[in-house]
Symmetry: C2
Subunit: 433 residues, 2 copies
């Protein structure tokens, strides 16, 4: 084919821009167009809580690259304010608002997700979600204009916890409401206990088992942030006959292909799969979106790449406490049918004579196979690195016995001679034997 | 057998005490005796540089447990000042200095290593090695009594580098002499360049390709620390007919068994093997000694455990720079017969809008198999965790492609959305393709 092939990407955040950039790197001749409904592309969604807290001064700091940058440096056309109203796969074209049509040869759907707003009263003034730079700006403006002192955050997932901590850092009195018994949705009572304890010390009151169904009937606060989860933006895809999975997100294979030839999906609008169970899961996270986008872009450009899936790694970095999880908690593992054993230890994060901090490690393994199934790390320092070691082990179905002898780094200022990961692994081996 | 079985351990540092403690945990009835030539057991050898720098005030802080603790809490008899002069395997007994004999049923040899002192003039006053608490005390006393201002450290392995940094932190003017072209013995010019640059800024002058053969002819300084490597204490074992390996250390199998039935060896006196090549190596490190000791103790107590070997992880935490390595550098990998490709990238250790620091990552992979072979991480924060992820990958022969998609933790305060490890892996994939 001699005509210029055109790749169109719907959505200009993590997955979409990763797809476009990767396709460009593999094929210099491709005509690449990104259509973004909003005003910005390539902004750091995970940085928004730090804008609320004040640690990030301006929203501009969170914008990684402008449309002009992609145009100039990557030869990628970016159209902001461009809303796709229909995908017409038979004609291989998109209908845009304003009676415009855009033909494509390959399509990457990266329409992202949106916060759930299922509460009565959710549209009242003073009630916000935090999903875009515009919303973050509105919240900060609202706080300043109304001199807000008391805020409520609804939903104790990782965004809710980060936002509650950020507002408390700003000096607000914050209540965090959670419908279930659990923080971070891990079904992990000990992790919940630790986080509730920490948040209380930081001035965040946590109310568990407290479903909020209506605003302001159930709660009162000057400012309310809804953080009750993200749902995938799948309407465009579904209307075009693109299959959704059981999770409700767009079903893709490991090449990020949908059921329609030449149409890929990636990021918060799509499913991924869990490396431990092989099952489809919906885990909308920035890292995953970037990886999926990269694979979608490569395959849309004619390469053959696959995305290996996720193990569910997540980290929440609060003031003076970082909490990270990966794989399954004991309760989650049992729900998946594993005969799970778990231990939790508290050790020091480095040699005590150099001023160590306590570090908690939880490890979960399967009694039958002896393989690791998950873990959690809680502490002030060295949390990310340690959860990443567990995540790496989960990726390869590492047996606990092998994990317990990993050749981990030791120097008194950064780790004790028996790393807490190894201490936990030895304890868990006792449980399994 | 109804009589009490006796396990004797020769040597009371990391490997020896780990062996004794592990054997006790597995067998409450065993008679366990540890014979230590020196005055202390269970002290933190790796903490000695921090005593020199002054960050650790007293040597007592480095002593983890006293003989009385082991006696009381673990029912392990510890005899300090007890020197074994011969192992008599036919009689299953040890000859001790002072015409005493001690019978054993099982024996763990954990005689450790000692610093090489092959230079002419090495016995002159003001020339020290740093291997025991007593030596550390002598050095600090010498510095104070003679108001030392200029010091020389000979040997730029990890101990030499740490000691040079520690003495500079103390305010001394330090020169670090190295016979070869290389710091840390990795045959890695870029790593060497970075470390030399950093040490210079910290007031340590580094002289490479500068073999010192004689003191004080070749160099002059008020204080000289020899850090030219550690050699295994194998004389006792060799005289008893215990086989040594090609490395010169005691040959053991993965159960830490020597060629004599019932006789185990562990720690700095023994060989281990490299997980990447399967070949025996001599890598005397505290972590490895502890792990080997643990396995030796378990097997001496009748369990069946194996030590899986090492990948050569090492970390040096200097003031404001931490350097870590694992596996092979590109040059080392080529020497092992691999068709090695390598990349080195500089990325940010977290999201830039939260005040990131640069982090360097080097990765080495085999062109033929696509598997990872080694890596290095240099930076201020998050170095240990990242080298541990590489070490974990090396342990399972992880293909680079799998490594490049690891589900690593992301939160703006602790890591960027594309972790530097993944950025390096993607770069290296380009090299391999």
């Amino acid at each position: 084919m001699l005509g210029l092939m055109r790749l169109v990407v719907i959505g200009g955040s993590a997955a979409g821009m990763s797809a476009a950039a990767r396709a460009r790197r593999l094929d210099a001749s491709l005509d690449i167009v990104v259509l973004e409904r909003g005003a910005h592309v390539s902004w750091a969604a995970c940085g928004l809580p730090y804008y609320l807290s004040g640690r990030v001064k301006t929203l501009e700091e969170l914008i990684m690259h402008t449309p002009a940058y992609f145009e100039r440096e990557r030869n990628i056309r970016v159209r902001t304010g461009a809303e796709v109203v229909a995908i017409q796969p038979q004609r291989r074209q998109l209908a845009l608002r304003g009676h415009e049509y855009l033909a494509y040869d390959k399509l990457v759907i990266a329409t992202g997700g949106r916060p759930q707003r299922r509460l009565a009263g959710a549209d009242a003034p003073g009630v916000f979600t935090l999903h875009s730079p515009e919303e973050a700006r509105s919240i900060r403006d609202f706080i300043e204009q109304h001199r807000v002192r008391r805020a409520a955050v609804i939903g104790a997932g990782y965004i809710g916890v980060e936002v509650a901590d950020a507002l408390a850092e700003r000096g607000l009195s914050v209540t965090l409401w959670e419908a279930g018994p659990d923080v971070l949705g891990r079904n992990d009572p000990e992790l919940t206990r630790r986080l509730v304890e920490h948040l209380s010390r930081q001035g965040v009151e946590v109310r568990l088992n407290a479903p909020v169904k209506s605003i302001p009937l159930d709660i009162s606060a000057e400012l309310i942030i809804l953080a009750t989860g993200v749902m995938p933006n799948v309407e465009l895809a579904a209307e075009a006959g693109i299959e959704l999975g059981r999770t409700g997100a767009i079903r893709v294979n490991e090449r990020m292909q949908t059921n329609l030839a030449g149409v890929f999906a990636a990021g918060d609008c799509a499913e991924t799969f869990h490396l431990i169970t092989g099952a489809p899961v919906y885990l909308p996270l920035g890292t995953t979106a970037n990886k999926m986008g990269r694979v979608a872009g490569a395959n849309a450009a004619g390469a053959r790449e696959r995305f290996q899936g996720v193990v569910g790694t997540m980290i929440v970095a609060l003031r003076s406490l970082t909490v990270a999880v990966t794989g399954f908690s004991a309760a989650q593992a049992r729900k998946q049918g594993f005969d799970a054993a778990a231990v939790r230890i508290v050790a020091q994060d480095r040699s005590q004579y150099l001023g160590s901090h306590p570090l908690e490690v939880e490890l979960v393994a399967d009694r039958r196979s002896g393989r690791l199934l998950g873990g959690a790390v809680i502490g002030q320092c060295g949390v990310a690195g340690r959860i990443n070691v567990i995540a790496s082990a989960l990726t390869v179905n590492m047996p606990l016995e092998q994990f317990a002898q990993l050749d981990l780094a030791y120097a008194p200022p950064v780790a004790p001679v028996w790393d807490p990961l190894l201490v936990a692994a030895h304890e868990l081996r006792k449980e399994l034997s």
